[in-house]
Symmetry: D2
Subunit: 352 residues, 4 copies
């Protein structure tokens, strides 16, 4: 028996990614779709007409589903056990707690609850131990079955996953990261072609703050009723928008308490993997490319069907200890794929 | 009386920029053009047919000039007093010293002599005092009238010019810089459209080494027969190629011995200017943009007719002291415009 | 004494082009700006903050002007004699006649009145004789001083201007044109980067209809109270959106009643010019490029400061008589520059 | 038992496509690779290092194959039965006949033999009857087992396949086609990013001639010792290079002897299919999109794993009878995929 799930914000770019990736999923069955008022009452096929981003047509069975409003919580409760929330932060603010209160599990892509102390920001390969917060959260809120977990900002998956196993062993002190982020990260229509053609924009609203703050929560420890941010490393992020469709790239300089060797790092990366056997987890989590000019977004974003992290150019840093470049697919690993991976972890650990 | 000058490598992208910028120059008269064997014997118009990059047609008088070989040094000597060298490093290696030995001033864009201790790497606004090396160089080599000066790599103008007046006062200790560089920096045909469309390449051969080494020579001091590199700051550069036609952008995190205030920095930038009155020097050397999302290559590269540096996003750095983003036009300030500025300085200081 | 003018829709991409091109105009003084409700009451500088498309900053004097509402017709009447209308078709529908009725000359970029029989669709080089419609229009409507003239769609300038002098002499029978249109034609934000990156869209809503209908009105004759469309040529247009910032390109196959020679065509193009001495008129109206691969949008769009038409590849057509490719700058000649040229014609012919 | 095959020009962009598509092919086993002198003696993995265009790494078994010279015909003869030729026209001119003479079947992508009267230009769905030319060709040349077949230029697959079944029934009289072609059509490095960024080039050397001539040979009839070109339709082609990575788009206006209805055309397209059951043949040969803005290269090029033709916008043409837009993947259907389809046809019809 598959677990029935829903998608909030199902017509947006991330919502559509959820829909596509839930087709024939071994654990989940898509049974509830919600979107903004202009789509309510239409079939999903009608609602996404002219803005469907999939290469293949939307399957008939999904296209025939009726689109509900985000406020149709009673229907959601009847139709599914978990909702993937791909709505904007202000909609998340209003509704995500209501869904959880009503008894639904909420796996959210929105930024709103990432700062909430009793909501875990999950990357299964990094901080699955934060799942314990779910029981504390339910106790804090008086919720029986429902709860909220969130995934982090798309910009940081590319560097947090390779840095985590190094941090565990050598403790990062300082980290300066520059991201070159794809336009799909801004949704659709998102970035105007007039803005980004033959151009780079060295600013993405809120992105540097998230890139500097969220890693510390992910590396934090459960303390009483919430997660306490880690004290280190110090992080500085410069975030740029570049004319690339998909794939966020990050160039990193990092300093450790105890400096590893290059060989130790490569050894750790080659064997680091998800500690749980989850369907969306790639065979090789960190793909290290030996070529001097990789990773590149167009060539590497689909590694591990969009769920792997591609890393390259590991070399000494004249200022810190090491530097390297990392890449992840922002609308797969960084959005819907990462959200589904979290939900698979919830199944695996019996939270659903 | 204008000073007759020549261009070596006149048909390439930088050579063409020289040609365009020397038309109606107040100090110089273009009278000698040299290029690779397949262009020799053609008129300049014939030699650049089908690969002229100027928006306006090449002026008739220039187009009618005959293209010589780079080895036609005797002709160069008869026709001009200074040559701008826009040839590749391996051609520079063979010929630049021969031109100087023959009695010509050589202002080179090639990387070959940037590491030569008695050849100054000049930015007029930063290290005009290194002009003294010319006399020492002539003495070292036994040259009478000829000499070689070079300009630095195009990647570093954007950040070295704003950092220099800060360094003078507050002494940089550590610097991590990420560059996002335009395709024109690789010449023509240079970067294939198949390489860079919908993509970023996190590597440019030799570029990081130049970006880390040349600033220390520029900040160095004359010691005996050569320039001794400065000991500090420590510099780490990550260089990326991005799908932008013109304009190199750099995002910088910097730490000082003595931390300035944000106001001090802005004040220094607003008044920093070229200490010499040179025709190519822009009215406002450093253009600071208040908007949160500037500088941007397409919007800002032509500031000061391509000779100004546009800076923005000055803010505290959680790891070092400050961070900011800077931009310069790589084929103007970073190539031909910068070379001509150096030549203007040579005139102004009576070296021609 | 300059003639005071205003711009309706002053904050959009075409409105901004008007503002920039009216600075220091020899005939006109910008004295009234109107835009949509969210800009009303702000200074122009405030209203365009973060979306100013000019390379140079907006001049202080213009930036300090207060933005009015499009319905502030009484203020417009007090402040100016002519308004350039760069509003959308639905706003044009409501307001343009009210401005004319109030006594203002309206030069409109909107499509709404292009089909109105007593409103001339003007290209000064082609159908200045349609200016006579202004008196008929005023009589039809009972307007004293006010009137409406419009400019045609941006897609057709590139081919109608070179075809007109041929048509006059050899009579076009059939015309098949394919346009490759720049994203700026859709305004800002207009075309999403996700839509057009690594892509072409073979459809632009309403564009083919305009490209097939408007030329016939431009070539039409005044008949009683309106302009009667020309009966020929038959025109088929395929319109494509391509990832180009500025510059609409058109490839044309054309059949004439009487087939000219290639030499006759080139001769006609080389001498065809605006019959009036207007400030915005380029020295060479049709720039014919001999190279096999021109015109190209990025290289040729600024010919004649954006007001010339660049043509190339004139050759025999195996199906019709001749074929060629033509290019014009869509936001200059095709929008604000073309509108100002029309207004200059109105001055020259004493309609203002 | 699979048939052993080779690839000439195996390191180029089309050669690599052949290599990728021959992995696990049901009919063929890749056993011979030839390339230009600088690759000879290297393993294939070494030869394509730094310019491998596949998303997945080249399989180990293929990467370990030694690269031979194009002149190693004796080795080719020992190792395989058919060679796919992806070399340039001038190399094809020298070697393809030698391979055939030696006893090998040659399926060529090069343009050189497309004009040779006894060499068929094959599209299996259109003119499989031209296979008969193979026996005539062998007789003409005195060849026993070897022969040459070629595939047509990549530009014309998109419109010839949808037009063929209409032509069969309604006879085309006149055809004007405008192509918007991807940069991968020029190979690697091919089109410089400086040429095509923010630009369109309305010219591709030789492409219009091929687009106008080859369809008439494909529609021709066997007459004596060669294929006689069809007399009609008259064809005019305008070919443009656009900033798209993969996918050639064509907008077509067509006139028939007998005008079909729109419904007849759609009906014919929905059922038109390859008359042979070939592994590379897509389930739906012509995919008709109802949306007003399709086909689009990025969204539709992979239809039918790159082997289908996507068509849209069928509508009346004011000058001819109908017009529509069609798209095919130029390096799959238009190159290696199309070549393999031809080879599959040779197997199916017992020529191998």
């Amino acid at each position: 028996m598959k677990i029935p799930v829903g998608v909030l914000g199902a017509t947006g770019i991330v919502g559509q990614q959820y829909v596509q990736r839930l087709i024939n999923h071994p654990f989940f069955e898509l049974s509830f779709l919600a979107a903004s008022p202009e789509s309510v009452g239409k079939t999903y096929a009608q609602a996404v007409e002219g803005r469907w981003h999939g290469h293949d047509a939307c399957p008939k069975a999904i296209g025939a589903l009726l689109v509900h409003g985000v406020d149709d919580i009673a229907i959601a409760l009847r139709e599914c056990r978990l909702v993937f929330s791909a709505v904007s932060a202000d909609v998340a603010k209003i509704y995500e707690e209501r869904y959880a209160e009503a008894g639904l599990a909420v796996m959210s892509n929105a930024s709103y609850h990432r700062g909430t102390p009793d909501v875990p920001v999950l990357i299964p390969e990094v901080n699955a131990d934060h799942l314990q917060m779910i029981r504390i959260q339910q106790k804090n809120r008086g919720w029986q079955r429902g709860f909220i977990v969130v995934k982090p900002n798309c910009s940081l998956q590319s560097y947090m996953i390779p840095l985590f196993p190094l941090h565990r062993q050598f403790h990062m002190k300082r980290l300066i990261v520059n991201t070159l982020q794809a336009v799909s990260g801004a949704g659709f229509p998102g970035v105007s072609s007039l803005t980004i053609s033959d151009n780079v924009v060295p600013f993405i609203a809120g992105e540097e703050e998230k890139s500097e703050d969220e890693p510390l929560k992910i590396l934090g420890v459960i303390q009483g009723e919430g997660i306490e941010h880690a004290k280190s490393p110090m992080i500085a992020a410069h975030c740029h928008r570049v004319p690339v469709i998909d794939g966020h790239l990050a160039s990193v300089s990092v300093e450790f308490e105890k400096k590893p060797t290059r060989e130790e790092i490569l050894q750790i990366w080659s064997t680091f993997s998800c500690p749980y056997a989850l369907p969306s987890s790639p065979d090789q989590l960190i793909v290290y490319r030996q070529e001097s000019d990789r990773p590149q977004p167009r060539l590497d974003r689909m590694a591990g069907r969009g769920m792997a992290i591609t890393v390259g150019r590991l070399r000494c840093c004249p200022v810190f200890d090491f530097r390297f470049t990392a890449l992840s697919h922002n609308t797969i690993r960084g959005a819907a794929g990462g959200g589904i991976l979290n939900a698979e972890l919830l199944v695996s650990e019996n939270f659903l």
